[in-house]
């Protein structure tokens, strides 16, 4: 059960990464782009199960 939750959580984090990268390339505001980049770090780490 815990393995299933862990994998599901990684998939959710992966989706979050895709969303943030999409927002990063769509935004015209550089500050918003930087915010997306900072927010991306923990989600990327969790996607690859680095914790």
């Amino acid at each position: 059960m815990s393995t299933f939750i862990s994998i599901a959580y990684s998939i959710l984090c992966g989706l979050m990464c895709i969303g943030l990268i999409y927002k990063l390339y769509k935004s015209d505001d550089v500050y918003e782009q930087i915010t997306c980049g900072i927010a991306l770090v923990p989600f990327l780490l969790r996607t690859f199960q680095i914790r």
Binding site: L24, Y25, D28, Q33, C36, G37, L40, V41, L45, I50
Partner: protein, 390 residues
């Protein structure tokens, strides 16, 4: 039209720069996180015959950062079996260092010695929140510096989170504060389908039962202001051994160590639950470690090794410290020396009182030798040995 294309290119260029920077930071962070799981090398000494993983006794923890090496020092001659537990609390480094000292130097002539240096292995990969601890510290040796990890008192929260408001110990139902749910020394005897810390405790309990251990010695440290320091805390089943060992240590080596009985109402600790739920006699030893004192200054690498702290000295001058404490601090040699002498006296007394469970060990430096020569003089250089010897 041209302006729009230029804007689009600028936006993409900025986004790509941000993304590359993010990837660089992520890579650096991942290296830092993964390095925290690296365990210091330990050289197999003359009596090490086998190294098993703790998950051998409970496969539920296999492949997790809580799984750890169990060293078997076997004489091949019939006798007793003793288990040494170091690193149940990863901040209390003297127990872990004493375990390493025994693994690298002990010559076991009768019986078996089983040693777990990192009993709560996942705790060595994390740090106590808000304490600003150093992640590693170094011991000076004749050949250079040898590194060891300083961890947390509790299991890594990555493996067991969140903490409840209150922790109900299994099987007693005793209520403790929520964070104690990750304290391995409140989780014994453990259960196979319990929380992560309970599973690690269960694996150790199963090891004690399956290997038919006669004796368990659990090595800890506590703050110098805590009253239960420089003592052996014994289950009723080992009180005769603890009492005699403490007296002998005082008479022979001039090292005073008190003896206290394990309180029956304090559940989850080795000196209570292992004695109640297994056949083994159990003794827990405590030395003082100033890094654990709330009044101390910076938690530096030097403080871990020398135990010198100006604020603790001020507290001592006001009579607030429970051990003799002066400007010399409580160096690591003093703390490891106490554990080493205590362990050897316990084995010697047990062999005398219970000849069927005799365990004879030699070659490990005691308190006086460690104080005179320093701990580093007895530690091996891992780079002198092949990978198979580590």
């Amino acid at each position: 039209m041209v302006d729009k294309e230029v804007d689009r290119r600028r936006r993409y260029t900025k986004a790509t720069i941000v993304l590359i920077t993010t990837l660089v930071f992520t890579f650096a962070a991942s290296k830092l996180i993964m390095s925290s799981y690296e365990v210091e090398p330990i050289v197999k000494g003359p009596s090490v015959r086998e190294v098993k993983r703790l998950s051998h006794y409970h496969p539920g923890i296999a492949g997790t950062p809580g799984d750890t090496d169990v060293y078997f020092l076997d004489s091949g001659t019939p006798g007793g079996t003793a288990l040494m537990l170091g690193g149940i609390h990863a901040t209390e480094v003297a127990g872990m260092l004493t375990s390493v000292l025994f693994i690298e130097t002990a010559q076991v002539n009768q019986g078996r010695l089983i040693i777990i240096p990192h009993s709560n292995n996942s705790a060595f990969a994390t740090q106590p929140a808000e304490d600003a601890f150093v992640p590693v510290f170094y011991i000076e040796t004749g050949w250079g510096k040898r590194w060891f990890r300083l961890g947390d008192r509790l299991t890594n929260p990555v493996l067991q989170w969140p903490d409840p408001d209150a922790y109900a110990h299994y099987p007693s139902g005793q209520i403790l504060s929520g964070s104690e749910v990750r304290n391995l020394n409140r989780a014994f005897p453990g259960r196979p389908d319990g929380l992560y810390t309970e599973q690690v405790a269960y694996a150790i309990t199963q090891l004690i039962i399956e290997e038919d251990c006669d004796l368990v010695v659990d090595m800890h440290e506590a703050s110098a202001m805590y009253p239960v320091v420089n003592v052996m805390v014994s289950h009723a089943n080992a009180m005769d051994i603890a009492g005699m060992a403490a007296m002998t240590m005082d008479f022979e080596e001039g090292v005073y160590i008190g003896v206290e009985a394990s309180p029956e109402g304090l559940r989850g600790l080795t000196h209570r639950e292992v004695g109640d739920h297994t056949q083994a006699k159990v003794i827990l030893m405590e030395t003082a470690n100033p890094i654990m004192d709330y009044v101390r200054g910076k938690a530096t690498e030097e403080l871990v090794v020398t135990g010198k702290d100006e604020f603790l000295l001020m507290a001592a001058e006001r009579g607030m410290v429970t051990i003799p404490y002066d400007e010399n601090g409580v160096p690591i040699e003093e703390r490891v020396g106490r554990h080493s002498s205590g362990m050897q006296q316990i084995l010697s007394i047990m062999s005398m009182m219970y000849p069927d469970s005799a365990i004879e060990v030699e070659g490990v430096p005691k308190h006086a030798e460690l104080k005179e020569h320093g701990l580093g003089q007895f530690l091996k250089n891992p780079s002198d040995f092949s990978q198979e010897a580590l």
